[in-house]
Symmetry: C2
Subunit: 257 residues, 2 copies
DNA sequence: GTACTCTGTATCCGAGGGACACAGTTTTGA
DNA sequence: TCAAAACTGTGTCCCTCGGATACAGAGTAC
């Protein structure tokens, strides 16, 4: 029982995620596949969330005993990791002829879509964890799109972190099949109503909400982020017209006023 | 056993979060307080995460039986909600004399700090949930800071969502007491090493990482976001030049660009 | 054919959330 | 003053779930 990082067997998980599917030699041939198990788990978690995902249910849906799963997967935590890797899947091809901004825009929306289709994915990605090949491939796409923009390596990764966070965060806000108009704003409105003097600005902001217009938080945030990145890129290009990667003009919007 | 939203009793939770502390009439006076229970839970969760948080341990740390807690809290889920509300606490006062950007910058860093101090808070905030007074008060601060900038109500809320997401996301990346240099990048590097042809851009980006420089993802993302918001605000102001005392003339020298 | 190895199963255990009934305590009403 | 009512903390019980272990059957290598 390795309590390491929430009970995840790092070695075995690494083999499962990154190892080659080595065919066994002797003994009866397995009736299951890692992919099939992950698929079954995804189906269950999509329907009832991570709480509804029990080894028993996964086993039942595959017509095996619960303990049979442990021949393939060390435990529940590793199963979730495999499900996550399968659920994100391979990154989509970048749109043809798009510049870095077009690529990042499309990339974020595609990732958002993945997260929205699998609401449990958010909970499955909290805390440090071992990324799988698909996850790294998604990351590779962002960094590749930003290559040649003048951003440093760390900055490219920071942009990726920013976009992943936004996609993941917004997918959580937008329930997969929620009533249009956003139940979240409705809940806020109900709470603020009767407490206007306590939350005056919030009250005013909520008055400007049209229940018919769909939630545009994804578009809005994405546009702001990409505007900010674009501003940095153009500033870099103007400041250092030659040899990218020199002494960076760090202008942290940090601390001091 | 209300399976509603993960087993949360919405009515009772609303009373716990928003209700007035009505003193009971008859019977022995309670030995515990909601605040004390929440504090005990926070202490445990800070140390061992949400998985380490059991009713048993909370009860032990308060010298009561497990079932005694159920006199105060309907169940574990509601306890976590109370812990969250106590952990975020009241929002800090906005820095004196700061414009909207300064306020939002400070706000985001303070929120980041709260999340970083309580790593379980991220997991506790997945999915739709009932916000408490403190949570709404934090939100109120953002919207108040943006009042008069020309942004619409929904846009102000979208900015808040964006900033909350960034603070929360980055707090997860930055482990509370991790080794400097970022184990995350180190893990990436170890994975990419030997697979350079598969992740060429990632490989190149990782080469530009200096293990000594601290992680600047929070600063970077925050600066990008606020740059993007600022661009929108100035564009709005330029398009609608009237509105006498609305948009303040913020230009304290060379910020950003 | 025999030994070895791998798969799926049956059984068992402990941890954890929570229901329920009961005893003790404090206030209210007569 | 005293009994009834209401509320608190406790002990006990149950169920679910993750996982360990031992075992029986299946398939392969020698």
């Amino acid at each position: 029982m390795t309590v390491e990082t929430g009970g995840v067997d790092q070695r075995r998980l690494f083999e499962l995620l990154w190892g080659t599917p080595t065919g066994p030699r002797r003994g009866p041939r397995p009736t299951l596949t890692l992919a099939a198990i992950a698929r079954a788990g995804i189906t269950i978690a999509d329907a009832d969330g991570l709480d509804g995902l029990t080894m028993q249910r996964v086993a039942e849906s595959l017509d095996v005993t619960k303990m049979a799963l442990y021949r393939y997967v060390p435990g529940r935590a590793e199963l979730v990791a495999l499900m996550l890797e399968a659920a994100v899947g391979e990154p989509p091809a970048p749109p043809a002829g798009a510049d870095w901004r077009g690529r990042l825009d499309d990339w974020t929306r595609q990732l958002f879509d993945r997260f929205r289709r699998h609401p449990w994915a958010h909970a499955a990605t909290v805390g440090p964890r071992l990324p799988g090949p698909n996850e790294l491939a998604w990351l590779e796409r962002v960094v590749a799109a930003l290559a040649g923009t003048g951003l440093t390596g760390p900055e490219q990764l920071d942009v990726a972190v920013l976009l992943v966070g936004h996609a993941r965060n917004l997918a959580q806000h937008a329930a997969p099949d929620d009533a249009p108009g956003g139940s979240r704003e409705a809940a806020f409105d109900a709470l603020v109503r009767g407490r206007e003097e306590r939350f005056p600005a919030l009250h005013a902001a909520l008055r400007g909400i049209d229940p018919n217009t769909p939630d545009q938080a994804l578009d809005f945030g994405l546009a702001r982020i990409l505007d900010g990145v674009e501003a940095l890129i153009t500033a870099r290009a103007a400041a250092v017209p030659r040899h990218p990667g020199g002494v960076d003009e760090r202008s942290p919007g940090g601390r001091g006023e």
